[in-house]
Amino acid sequence: MGEGGSVFLAGETQETVPHLSLTGFEGPLDLLLDLARAQKVDLAQISILQLVEQYLAFVEGARQIRLELAADWLVMAAWLTWLKSRLLLPAENEADGEAEEAAGLLQGRLLELEAIRGLSLWLDNRPRLGEHVFARGCGEDMTQIDRSGLRVDMVGLITAYLAMTRRKGRKRFYAPPRPRYWTVTEAVSALQRLLNASEIAGWQKLTSLLPAQESTAPRARAAALASALVAGLEMAKSGAVELKQDGVFAEIMLRAPQKEEE
């Protein structure tokens, strides 16, 4: 955009051009269109030759101030110089047609840009939504959503069932390890084994019945002792064993029942 934007020629330095500014011109075509408009005739009838001379003078003036004028300004200047030379050639010259065509091309481009600028201004003058005119700020939603219906199908039902079955198949429940204590049943069979052994005679301590591995943990030992006591009491009830305890908290003693006849 506007490469030549900052070129100024002050009145003192260039008497022939009182005030020259490229500010606001977006490229050579922009300037050319402006110069053409200054001729104050229909663009279709402008003098290309006059236009070319004005442009060249303008750019030449600008170059005396700013040598680093942007390339496109100079490219256009070179092309226009060529066009000028062709246009100045005698009419019967062969190159005549070529120059006319080039001039026509330039005129076409200027007309196009003019039209665009016209449309741009036309648009700019239109009231814009949100700037000059406003639409309804808060609309009313007139749609009512009815969600009473239900969408179901067999595939969904079966899929849900299968998905659940599979998920459950995969699922592992956390089960806390259940402590294995010496049970009453085990105590009964241990007691029976003890009574059947013939070499055992006389009073035995109930605690001697407990399996060796249960004697370490106090909780397991207490449980085993309870099982042994329950087993002993159960068997004493049916007369399979005799129990005695000499005092509170004293050792519980057991023995095989003594036969009265002997």
Partner: protein, 191 residues
């Protein structure tokens, strides 16, 4: 156009363009910035109301201020009803599937099969949609309700009777169906 009318047109435009109802305070301020006395607001609003007398919309005072609204008598004709059928939630669908396959069954049965507790909401949804219904009580302590599917369940799923439901062993043993079921499960399982 007299001063009142031209002011009322500005206020009309302001209320129309506003995203929210315009508070009476804001309107009073606006009237003052337009060089009018704030007491003129009453007549201004009255004039706007009059202007919209035979219109489809009217100026109404709502909680937060003034707003144009469609007149209630024409609103019904404009209302478009869009049907958006719901889908059952995953837990509701699973529960329904269990009831369909294991009916009649109790809540405890369902929980046992799904391995999670059954929320009352899920059960309520299925009852409200008329898909399940009580089928007596189980003669065990507590006499829990036995649930089964309804006639509406059959029509919803396009089944002639419960026999039309694919049997469980058909679903699981048929290699094709199992493969398909597997695929479906994979698609939905990770969501």
């Amino acid at each position: 156009m007299d001063a009142l009318t031209s002011l009322s047109r500005l206020v009309e435009g302001l209320i129309f363009a506003s995203v929210e109802p315009v508070s009476e305070n804001a309107l009073r301020q606006f009237v003052v910035t337009q060089g009018a006395d704030e007491n003129i607001l009453g007549p201004v609003l009255a004039e706007i109301r009059l202007r919209y007398e035979d219109h489809a919309v009217e100026l109404v005072a709502v909680a937060k201020g003034w707003q144009f609204r469609t007149r209630s008598e024409i609103a019904p004709a404009l209302t478009r009803i869009v049907e958006k059928p719901r889908r059952l939630s995953r837990s509701a669908m699973e529960t329904l599937a269990i009831i369909a396959y294991h009916q009649p069954c109790t809540r405890a049965d369902i929980e046992g099969i799904r391995g999670v507790s059954l929320s009352q909401t899920v059960l309520d949804t299925l009852i409200e949609d008329g898909l399940i219904m009580p089928k007596g009580r189980k003669e065990v302590p507590g006499r829990p309700i036995l649930w089964g599917t309804s006639a509406h369940f059959l029509s919803s799923f396009g089944l002639s009777d419960l026999g039309a439901l694919p049997r469980r062993d058909e679903l699981l043993l048929d290699p094709d169906a199992a493969a398909q079921a597997g695929r479906i499960v994979t698609q939905q399982g990770i969501k």
